[in-house]
């Protein structure tokens, strides 16, 4: 059973009359799991086999190969299955509406089923996810994970239908989404990944798919802990301004709250391997007198009903301005990273709408924020879309011809953050 540790980074001093309490909570899991305590898992790979996957031919070929690599990464006895998606969803392995335990034999059989896949038909992602949910329901109690690969937009379903499917399936399984090529919609896949607590990324070249699938499946297999929630207690009269995962990526959790009682809510964080995540918690409390100390938030990591780690968010009121005006470095840093992600998304949207002034301003601000925080990865992606004249002041020029793949890469990866401090990765 893995061990969780928490660290709370905050300036607990508030000026008199101050009510906003900010804290960065770092949660680390050592991912240690004995062979016996590893949770029973289930895996489904969902492959888009719509007509476009056959053009160029190597796209479906690459998807086959990548899925085959992913199948090899599945541990023995993990229940697994394959779904081929067009305007309908089809369980291609196994075909009897269940999942099978992984073994040398079943892995080989699944690869034979893979070879029979043909690229023809449309795209109805909601129906693929619904089928995955039905198959996962045949193996209750397992920690369920899916990989979704698509190359196109959801054509045969309305947005409302997809939203309905996502809210129905939330919490039932985790889904990492990958878009191959440049004909898919970033906002759509992000909505799916976000709703199902997974990641979203672009695979620009089909030949990169196998490596990515291997990483995804190995990460999934390394998850030592099942469904974990961040539980937040706040005192009477307090309100939660927001709860946001800020590292390794930005993920808004505020709306995901599941109320436990009047003062306590759970925020889902899905499965954990050996990893560390940062959360930014902002709570508004009722101001008290100078010198008074109160607890603004009690945070615990809960797995089922078992508490695995705790952290305290405090508030102390003081008339000493040297104490109360210090802005915590972590809070400032992650506030900047959240603004960076917003600027990129707003900048790209503005550019697409032809509002070049707003696009230049937003992407310029993004360049400035990326430079200040040392977010080199995002900076590189930004340079594919703008020419940087002066990063410090955020002076940029929009590039005339931007490759779709550059813009989509920037869009998908805009939520990737860096940690505080020089040289941090």
């Amino acid at each position: 059973m893995s061990t969780f540790t928490t660290e709370c980074d905050q300036n607990e001093y508030l000026p008199l009359g101050g009510s906003e309490v900010n804290a960065i909570v770092t949660v680390t899991s050592d991912g240690a799991a004995g062979e016996t305590s590893q949770p029973e898992a289930a895996e489904i790979v969902i492959i888009d086999t719509s007509g476009s996957m056959g053009a160029p031919r190597r796209k479906l070929e690459a998807a086959r190969k990548a899925t085959s690599v992913a199948i090899d990464c599945i541990r023995d006895d993990v229940a697994f299955g394959l779904i081929a998606g067009t305007e309908v969803a089809q369980a291609v392995y196994p075909t009897d509406g269940t999942l099978v335990p992984a073994s040398a034999q079943t892995r080989a059989d699944a690869k034979i089923a893979l070879r029979r896949l043909k690229a023809e038909g449309g795209t109805a992602i909601g129906s693929w996810l619904t089928l995955a949910g039905t198959l996962f329901a045949t193996v209750p109690g397992r920690s369920c994970h899916a990989i979704l690969l698509t190359d196109g937009e959801n054509q045969h379903e309305t947005d409302d239908h997809l939203d309905g499917v996502l809210s129905e399936l939330e919490g039932r399984f985790q889904c990492d989404c990958r878009g191959v090529g440049t004909d898919w919609k970033v906002s759509e896949l992000r909505r799916i990944a976000s709703g199902l607590l997974g990641s979203v990324d672009i695979i620009a070249k089909p030949e990169d798919m196998a490596g990515d699938f291997r990483t995804l499946m190995e990460t999934a297999m390394g998850k030592a802990t099942g469904n974990v929630s961040l539980r937040l207690w706040a005192p009477q009269g307090a309100s939660i301004a927001f709860v946001r995962q800020v590292a390794p990526t930005i993920e808004e959790l505020t709306d995901r709250a599941v109320q436990v009682n009047d003062l306590t809510a759970d925020y889902p964080t899905a499965t954990w391997g050996r990893e560390s995540r940062d959360y930014h918690v902002c709570i508004n409390v009722q101001p008290r007198d100078a010198g008074e100390e109160m607890l603004a938030g009690r945070i615990s990591l809960v797995e089922g009903e078992e508490t695995r780690a705790r952290a305290l968010v405090k508030a102390i009121w003081t008339d000493d301005q040297r104490l109360s005006t210090q802005i915590n470095r972590g809070v400032a840093h992650y506030t900047g990273q959240a603004e960076l992600a917003d600027c990129i998304q707003e900048g790209i949207d503005a550019r697409r709408d032809g509002d070049l002034a707003t696009a230049t301003f937003k992407l310029g601000r993004a360049v400035q924020l990326a430079a200040e925080s040392g977010n080199d990865g995002t900076m590189k992606l930004l340079q594919g879309v703008v020419e940087v004249d002066d990063a410090a002041t955020g002076t940029v020029r929009l590039r005339q011809n931007v490759a779709a793949v550059d813009e989509m890469s920037l869009d998908t990866r805009s939520t990737i953050t860096v940690r505080v401090g020089p040289g941090a990765t």
Partner: protein
């Protein structure tokens, strides 16, 4: 085991109050010592109260001491629980299915709640949320709350022979005991045996038993 916070809340956590978040001073049981409770002033002025026997062990109270010298009982705290009796509250799927109340769903998760029964009245009901001075002793207001329970639903009273009797206080949806589908008559005491199940609301079962 609860402690008193400086703002007068009973807190199950001992570092900060689990209601208002106030810091509870370590090392002083009962937490905040700054607040003078009205009960203490009464104890100061009335000689008759000074020698009151401890309700837990019977030792006479020394002056206006807050804690009993005999057993450490808190004279300002709630009356002591009678050793051995408790009410265990659970969400009862079988009962829910039997009643089949339309428009009410069975809670997805319901942590078992235990209430030690006090000597005297133990009212069953739903408070209007905290703070509520008139909250029933067995307060089932915390979510997931059973919508079929009245604000003041029923009461468990300890009789002089040590047996607890159940009395429905004129609740909207009635109170049932064990497997009898008929509700008990309102305002009529029904003696309970160890292990008897009291059904209230759409899915709540309260098992009364000796510890």
């Amino acid at each position: 085991m609860t402690v008193l916070c400086p703002h007068g809340h009973q807190s199950e956590t001992t570092d900060y109050c689990d209601q208002c978040g106030a810091l509870i001073v370590a090392g002083s049981p009962g937490g905040g010592t700054t607040q003078v409770l009205p009960a203490l002033e009464e104890a100061d002025t009335s000689p008759a109260v000074r020698r009151e026997p401890c309700p837990a062990c019977g030792a006479p109270r020394s002056g206006d001491d807050r804690y009993c010298e005999g057993c450490g009982h808190d004279f300002l705290g709630p009356p002591p629980a009678v050793a051995g009796w408790e009410a265990i509250v659970t969400a009862d799927r079988a009962q829910f299915d039997r009643l089949a109340v339309s428009g009410v769903s069975f809670p997805a998760g319901y942590p078992e709640r235990r209430f030690a029964l006090a000597d005297g009245e133990n009212r069953i009901g739903r408070s209007r949320g905290q703070p509520d001075e008139n909250a029933p002793e067995i307060d089932l207001a915390r979510p997931p709350a059973d919508p079929g329970i009245s604000r003041l639903h029923a009461v468990l009273e300890r009789r002089s022979d040590g047996i607890y009797a159940l009395r429905d206080l004129g609740s909207t949806n009635g109170t049932m005991v064990n497997d009898d589908p008929a509700p008990i008559a309102p305002q009529t005491a029904v003696p309970l045996a160890d292990g008897d199940r009291v059904h209230v609301g759409a899915w709540t079962t309260i098992t009364v038993r000796k510890r």
